[in-house]
Every structure is written in structure tokens, then in C-alpha cells.
């Protein structure tokens, strides 16, 4: 398969960027999208050019490192991670545009690599249950109803890739934040910090420069882990509840 890829090249955070066109040849349909970029990079290096920088690590869809906008969609035409997108989703002769996540809260470091540390700071502000090592009660002393455990799990599968932010017309991190709030607030262990958690996480989310949520649902359509839309409604409910609760 022969393709033309047009890739966003930007030498550094403050350098100007532009789309650069590259032909790629001998692409097998069994390759992953990242393996196609590997092939291109190997050619660029041998030609004495700078290879395209992109984040990746596990290449099996679980670490959340990879993620680029492909033909205008976060992670490309299928609802999966970029590393699990295979070239059979494309056709011979296609022109494929590849861009980094674009959001105010995710500044570009180089080419397709962005800084997503704002996500870490949202978690640091409240996305945990305080349980210092050694203080835990016997595991079976806290039964959790299966439906709550399953729903908590569904939300806990978020891999923090940032596709939701990239897909959102407002650059909002609401789906990401809602997944963590829903996971922890559903569980009995999460109750003592329930209100403070949602207030602190939303405050950090706003401070980091993420946009507001207008329920457009683009995040859900791009989420490789299928975090449910309902979690956003849940976040709003938790926030309302916490805002009205007496301050501790």
C-alpha cells in the first residue's frame, strides 16, 4: 500500500509548526498506525532528516501514551487507541493528516508530543482515597454491591490518553474528571472525601485551562475505553450536591 501522510512538524514548544507531506510506500495492512510511522522514521533517519516525535509505549492499548489526531479525529477512524489502529483501515493512495492533540491545557512539546501533566494534577488534587499503607481494614469488611463495583470498574478503565480533550470543541476535561469522580464516589471507601474530591478536582480542571462542557458528546465518541456519557451527568450531580453541602 502506498500513502501520503501529512504530519504536523514543530521543532519545539515555541517554534512555529507546519504540515509536512511525506510519501510512504510498502505499507502492509497488518501494520499498526504507529508501525507505519516507524517505517517513515527509519527512512527519515537514513536520509539525515529528523524523525517524527510521537508518544507511545505499551502498544497494546492500555498505557495511554499514544494518541494523535488522524484525519480530524482523535485516534482516527475507529474507536480505539492509535497503537491499536491498523493500516487496513486505510486504502492505497489515501492522504492521511496527522496532528497532535490540540488543546490549551496540552501544550505541544515537539511534533506530535504534547504535555498532558494537567491530567496528573487533576488526580493529585483529589482523585484518590486516603488510605495510607498499613491502615487498611480486612478486605471483606467492606462489601461492595456488584452493580456499584462493575460501574466503578467501567469508569476506572480510563487510560488518561487525552482523546476526550482533543475531540472536544471546548478542550474540556470533563469526561476524564467525571470518570475518576464516578469511580471513587460510587464506592463505600470513597464516601468520606466525596464532596471535597469533586470540588477540588473541578477547581483544578478549571485552573489548568480546560474548557467548559457543553454536552456535545464528541469525547464519548472518541474514547477508546468507552467511558459512559452518563458519567458527565453524574459529575454534575456530584458537584451540585457538594456545592450545596455544608462546608467541612
Amino acid at each position: 500500500m502506498k500513502l501520503t501522510v501529512r504530519i504536523w512538524r514543530q521543532a519545539g514548544p515555541d517554534a512555529p509548526g507546519r504540515m509536512v507531506e511525506y510519501p510512504v510506500d510498502n505499507i502492509s495492512t497488518d501494520m499498526s498506525f504507529l508501525e507505519m510511522l516507524d517505517v517513515l522514521n527509519e527512512q527519515l533517519i537514513l536520509r539525515g532528516e529528523q524523525p517524527v516525535a510521537f508518544d507511545h509505549d505499551c502498544r497494546e492499548g492500555i498505557c495511554g501514551s499514544c494518541g494523535v489526531v488522524i484525519n480530524g479525529r482523535a485516534h482516527g477512524p475507529e474507536q480505539t487507541t492509535t497503537c491499536q489502529l491498523h493500516m487496513r483501515a486505510f486504502h492505497d493512495g489515501d492522504v492521511v493528516d496527522v496532528e497532535p492533540w490540540r488543546a490549551k491545557a496540552f501544550p505541544i512539546i515537539k511534533d506530535l508530543v504534547v504535555d498532558r501533566s494537567a491530567f496528573d494534577r487533576i488526580i493529585q488534587s483529589g482523585g484518590y482515597i486516603t488510605a495510607p499503607t498499613g491502615s487498611a481494614p480486612e478486605a471483606h469488611s467492606t462489601p461492595v454491591p456488584k452493580p456499584a463495583a462493575d460501574e466503578a470498574f467501567d469508569n476506572a478503565t480510563c487510560i488518561g490518553c487525552g482523546a476526550c480533550v482533543a475531540a472536544c470543541p471546548n478542550g474540556s476535561a470533563t469526561l476524564f474528571t467525571s470518570a475518576k469522580v464516578t469511580h471513587l464516589n460510587l464506592l463505600p471507601q470513597g464516601q468520606p472525601e466525596r464532596e471535597q474530591r469533586v470540588l477540588d478536582m473541578i477547581e483544578t480542571m478549571d485552573d489548568e485551562g480546560f474548557g467548559g462542557c457543553t454536552n456535545s458528546g464528541e469525547c464519548v465518541a472518541s474514547c477508546p475505553k468507552g467511558i459512559p456519557f452518563a458519567s458527565i451527568a453524574n459529575l454534575n450531580r456530584e458537584f451540585l450536591h457538594a456545592s450545596r453541602a455544608p462546608r467541612r
Binding site: D38, P51, R59, T80, G134, A136, K146, L187
Partner: protein, 645 residues
């Protein structure tokens, strides 16, 4: 060819003597303590944020230490522990099925083919019960029964149901638990986190580990960080084979640099090859993907009887198929342990019966299970795995058999540590997959998560406390001559890599090294092959330093430079791995020497001559390494020959 000499045996492991049940309690009581108010004056470096590093960093910070933590990924949440699928073993005996600390201990020592240290394994089993409590308190969403209690399942090689799980994402969920605990400490100012920063060397002053030299991967700046103790939680070295189930960034540089600064490296030839991975599809392949061991409960493994049979699998009649595991191992069938299943697949492919591209694959067929249980039942059990397989191969495993082939998955070897998880360099602690400690020559499924968290949450915090309390640490600054020296060595090496400007890419060297090691030090090894590879590695290394091409500069994000650094270390590490495999003239667990097999082709241990840990000492670039043996004594679990026929 690299040769070696034999040095003094390693005698003192610091494990208390006495009844095995009381050893850990005794060690904890004897360990000195640091006054809580004084702990914040002490700095501890932790390299890595996986299950071991994440849990260690969070716990040390909770205790009051000032923790400085590093990961090469952009966030501590991405360490490769995240990819573990199956589950975590704990001796809770919630099933009332006869499990106990002693049984978990017994299974682990036996599963390791009698090449692990009894004291360590017993402690691992003891603290396992606390791990599940800790994870549940953090909100880790384990699978539950309708009554609200935790569900468990069975895993390879054991007869109890002691494996706790969170669908096929147990590693992810446990890692997120540790990451959240760590995040809380970052917010509290007790942990100074350095993401996108890679350790490039160890600072040893007056014989003690006092810091690391690390490179900020975004700015390229090389900086020294000093501390009272250094903890390596940098994972395994499976990527020395290029193709493995490890993440692309997983590397051996942290442990290899520590080795070159004095830490002994133990049993590097113990590598685990997982039998059920998706075969490679071509030259472009960048990594391999695991399909959970649980599939062997319902899938039947077979190859065509006729060599080079090109018919589609569904057109090959029943009597022309060889269900070789069921034929050779009638009592265990498709559920033989990992090492046995991997080797059997290799034998079939070597004999020309393999299927798929290059004949490197065997079928894992669910047709009988679907006929017996219905498609829905199979979908409920394995749906996510079937989807993953279909996405990667574009084949529908409900209709055609899966093709699988073994792949490097885990490394049991690592830096040698004593009972305190301290290496031969005082103040340098090594935890998780980076050390050699608990799995012997073969790891049981669902035990890696257990070990990483046992080390990080429960063992290390006690022993680091003891080390720091014993004092004797002088004040050192970044102007110390050792710091200046190591920094200039690191910068010099980076500059050299950038200056070669040759004709071959880093990946091309890595692929060549990987296939050399896979051919001669993979599922089966023999003296001739090992010698041949030992002869080839120095040539390859020389060629690397002469003709590698690393574009760009050192003062920017330069992913090729990162890779070049790691591959340069793999080119040295691989040589020691081969030497270790050559010197261990027996077969045990994942290390199969063709010269040492029983008449029916099974691994033949030699307890008389090889019941020891091989710990290697680095003596310098042109010097032979020195082999120090730690003798293994089995007072509680007596070595037997494993048989599965």
C-alpha cells in the same frame, strides 16, 4: 569470547534464621527506626513508578521521607505494570479451599523449579494477604460476587482459587491505585516527581549509593540528584530480545549502570517465554501482544500432521490434526505450565508443522468449546481477548482458530538483593521485576503483581528505615569529584552517540541483537549456539559504536538518542545473559539447555552442582566478570522432578 572466573561465594543474605514463619517478624523487630520528625530530613530516590516503585514512593512519603521519583514516561500512571492482565495471588483462603500462606509459599518455590530463596518466598506469601486489604481500601474495583464480596479464580499450576482480578485489567487497576496514593503524596509535597526523566548512571560515594545522574528527556539536561538511599524499580530486561510483550520503552539501563557501579547481577539467563502470544506478521513488527493464559482452559492447541499443509484450518479433517499437548501430556493436556507449552510449540514449528507466516505459529482452537458451551458462554468469558485478537489479526477467532506463538514476557533474573532487598552496593535497594528475588527459574501466573506490591508497600519501607537509621552517611554535594566524574562520563557517552553519524539505525541493531538472542538464548539453548552468539556480540557492539546513526542534538527531545542509549546497554547486557546461560549447565524452569533433558525431552535439573544463584560481578571493560554463588538450601520444600505427563 567473554570468559569468567569464580569468586568468593555470597554467604550472608541477612535472612534471620529460626523457624521460617517467624523470620519476617524478627527482621521487622530488629530493624532500627528513624524518628518520624527526622524522616523529612532524609531523601530517598525511587527510579520507576510501576507497581513496585509507585507503591514504594507513596509509602516512604507517607512515612515522612522526602522522596524524589523518576519515570521516563510522561506520567507515573503509564509504567508497564499497567498491561498485566490476569490477576494477583493472595493466600486469603476466602474460598475455604485449603489455601494458606504455606501453600502459596510451597507452590511458588516449586513453580520456580527450586531456584529461589525460601526465606524471601515465605515472606512474599505472608504479606500477600495485606496487599489485597490495601488495594481494596484504595478503591481498586476488583471483581465481586453478587453478595458484594470479592471474587477469585484459578490460575496456572495451582489447585486453589486464590487469584483476585479486575476483568482482564488487574495490572491497570492496581497500578492506578498505587498511582493515586503517589499522587496524594505529590500534592502534599512529600514526593518530588520527575516524569520524562531517565536515569543514566548511579552515584556511588565511599562505597554507598548516594544518587543518580538523570537526563531530562524534554530539555536534554543532564542532572545529578543526591539522596541517602536509592531504590531501583525499573522493571525487567525482556526488551533485550527486541520483540517481547514489554512496552517499547522498557529497558535495562538503570540496572545495567548500577551493575557496572558494583551491584551484582543475578541469574540473567532466567527469562520467561509465554506460550500464547499473537505471532508476528512481518518484518515491521515492533512488539508482541499477549493473549491471557486463561484461554488454554477452553482452547485446544494443534498443528496439521502433514508438514507444510497449506489448507485453511477448518478444511483439515480431525484425523489429520495433531493435538500434541494432549498427546504428549495426557494428564495436564493443554494446561501444562508455561515453559512446557512454549517449548512444545517450538518443537512443532522446528519440525515444519507450524502454521501461518513463516510457519511460526500453532492453532488455538475454540470450535469444540463453542459447540459444547455455545458462543455466548465463550463470549462472556473471553470476549475482550477475542476482540483484541480480531483487531490485530483481522481474523475472527469465533470462526477460525487463533494462531499463537511463544514470546518473551517476563524476566526472573535481575540485580542480586539480600533479604532486605538491598544490592551489593550499600544504600542501593532493588524491588519488583528489577531484582532477582522471588521467582527462581520460572514465575507462576499472577505472582508478578503480588511481588511488586509486596516489595513496595511492605518490605522496602521497613528495610530502608533500618538502613537510614544506622547512619554513617556524610553530607555530599553536587560539587563532589565523583559527581563531576560520573556526569562527564554520561555526557561524553551521549556526545559520542550523537557524533558517530553512521549508516545504520538504532532499531536495525536492536532487531539484529534480538534475533541473535532469540535464536541462541531463547526457548532452548545449547553450548554451541551460546558460544556462537557470544562471539557475535562484540562484533555487533563494535559495529554499533562505529556506524549507528543518531540524528538531532542532545539539547532537545530526542527519542532516537534515548533508544541508542538503551540499545548500547542491551548490547552489553545480552553478553552477560549468554555467559550466564552457558555457565548454567543444567535445565531449570525457563532455562532449557538441550544437552540436559530427560529421555522424554523434559528439563533435567542438576541440584548437586547448580542449586545456587549465579551473581555476577562487573570488573571493568576488559576484565572477565566474576561469578559469586549463593547456595540455595531447601529446609521446607524439598526439590523434586517436575512431571506433567
Amino acid at each position: 569470547m567473554l570468559d569468567y572466573t569464580v569468586g568468593e561465594p555470597l554467604v550472608d543474605t541477612k535472612a534471620p534464621t529460626g523457624a521460617i514463619e517467624g523470620r519476617w517478624d524478627q527482621r521487622k523487630f530488629e530493624a532500627k527506626l528513624v524518628n518520624p520528625a527526622n524522616r523529612r530530613k532524609h531523601r530517598v530516590i525511587v527510579v520507576g513508578t510501576g507497581l513496585a516503585g509507585g507503591s514504594a514512593g507513596a509509602t516512604l512519603a507517607e512515612q515522612g521521607y522526602h522522596v524524589i521519583q523518576f519515570c521516563f514516561q510522561d506520567s507515573p500512571r503509564r509504567a508497564h505494570s499497567v498491561a498485566a492482565q490476569g490477576g494477583i495471588n493472595e493466600a486469603k483462603n476466602y474460598r475455604n479451599d485449603g489455601d494458606s500462606v504455606h501453600r502459596l509459599f510451597y507452590d511458588t518455590v516449586k513453580g520456580g523449579d527450586f531456584r529461589s530463596r525460601e526465606s524471601n518466598v515465605y515472606r512474599l506469601s505472608q504479606v500477600s494477604v495485606e496487599i489485597i486489604d490495601q488495594a481494596v481500601a484504595q478503591g481498586v474495583p476488583f471483581a465481586r460476587e453478587y453478595g458484594g464480596l470479592l471474587d477469585t479464580r484459578s490460575f496456572g499450576g495451582v489447585q486453589v482459587q486464590r487469584t483476585f482480578y479486575a476483568r482482564g485489567q488487574t495490572g491497570q487497576q492496581l497500578l492506578i491505585g498505587a498511582y493515586q496514593a503517589l499522587s496524594r503524596q505529590i500534592d502534599a509535597g512529600n514526593v518530588e516527581i520527575h516524569p520524562r526523566t531517565e536515569m543514566l548512571d548511579l552515584i556511588v560515594i565511599d562505597g554507598k549509593a548516594r544518587g543518580i545522574v538523570a537526563r531530562d528527556l524534554v530539555t536534554g539536561q543532564v542532572e545529578t540528584h543526591l539522596a541517602d538511599a536509592v531504590v531501583l524499580a525499573s522493571g525487567g530486561y525482556g526488551n533485550v530480545f527486541y520483540l517481547s510483550t514489554n512496552a517499547k520503552g522498557s529497558n535495562a539501563s538503570a540496572i545495567w549502570r548500577a551493575h557496572k557501579r558494583g551491584a551484582y547481577l543475578a541469574n540473567p539467563c532466567y527469562t520467561q517465554i509465554h506460550p500464547t502470544c499473537i505471532p508476528r506478521s512481518g518484518e515491521h513488527q515492533s512488539k508482541l501482544t499477549l493473549m491471557s493464559e486463561s484461554l488454554r482452559n477452553d482452547g485446544r492447541i494443534w498443528v496439521p500432521k502433514q508438514q507444510g499443509d497449506t489448507r485453511p484450518p477448518n478444511e483439515i479433517p480431525e484425523d489429520e490434526r495433531d493435538y500434541y499437548l494432549e498427546r504428549i501430556y495426557p494428564s495436564f493436556g493443554n494446561l501444562v505450565p508455561r515453559d512446557i507449552a512454549s517449548r512444545a510449540a517450538k518443537n512443532q514449528c522446528d519440525a515444519g508443522n507450524g502454521v501461518g507466516p513463516g510457519g511460526l505459529g500453532v492453532y488455538l482452537d475454540f470450535a469444540d468449546a463453542i459447540k459444547r458451551l455455545g458462543r455466548q458462554a465463550i463470549e462472556a468469558k473471553y470476549g475482550n481477548l477475542f476482540d483484541m485478537y480480531a483487531r490485530i489479526t483481522a481474523e475472527n477467532p469465533y470462526q477460525v482458530p487463533m494462531r499463537i506463538y511463544p514470546a518473551i514476557h517476563y524476566t526472573m533474573g535481575g540485580l542480586w538483593v539480600d533479604y532486605d532487598l538491598q544490592s551489593t552496593v550499600p544504600g542501593l535497594f532493588v524491588i519488583g521485576e528489577a531484582n532477582f528475588s522471588d521467582h527462581g527459574a520460572n514465575r507462576l501466573g499472577a505472582s508478578a503483581l503480588m511481588q511488586g506490591l509486596a516489595d513496595g508497600y511492605f518490605v522496602l519501607p521497613t528495610t530502608v528505615n533500618d538502613y537510614i537509621a544506622r547512619g554513617g552517611l556524610t553530607e555530599v554535594g553536587t560539587d563532589h569529584p565523583v559527581v563531576t566524574q560520573v556526569e562527564s562520563e554520561v555526557s561524553g557517552r551521549l556526545a559520542k552517540l550523537l557524533s558517530i553519524n553512521g549508516t545504520r539505525t538504532v532499531d536495525s541493531f536492536h532487531r539484529e541483537l534480538g534475533s541473535l538472542l532469540w535464536d541462541h538464548c531463547g526457548m532452548a539453548r545449547n553450548a554451541d549456539g551460546l558460544r556462537k552468539a557470544l562471539g557475535r556480540i562484540p562484533e555487533l557492539r563494535e559495529e554499533f559504536w562505529r556506524s549507528v546513526k543518531v540524528p538531532g542534538t542532545g539539547e532537545e527531545l530526542n527519542q532516537e538518542l534515548e533508544k541508542a542509549n538503551r540499545v548500547a546497554d542491551f548490547l552489553e547486557f545480552g553478553e552477560l545473559m549468554l555467559l550466564d546461560a552457558l555457565s548454567r549447565e543444567e535445565s531449570c524452569g525457563g532455562h532449557f539447555r538441550e544437552e540436559h533433558q530427560t529421555p522424554d525431552g523434559e528439563a533435567q535439573r542438576d541440584d548437586e552442582n547448580f542449586s545456587h544463584v549465579s551473581a555476577w560481578e562487573y570488573r571493568g571493560e576488559d576484565q572477565s566478570p566474576v561469578l559469586h554463588k549463593e547456595s540455595l538450601d531447601f529446609d521446607y520444600v524439598h526439590p523434586t522432578q517436575r512431571s506433567y505427563t
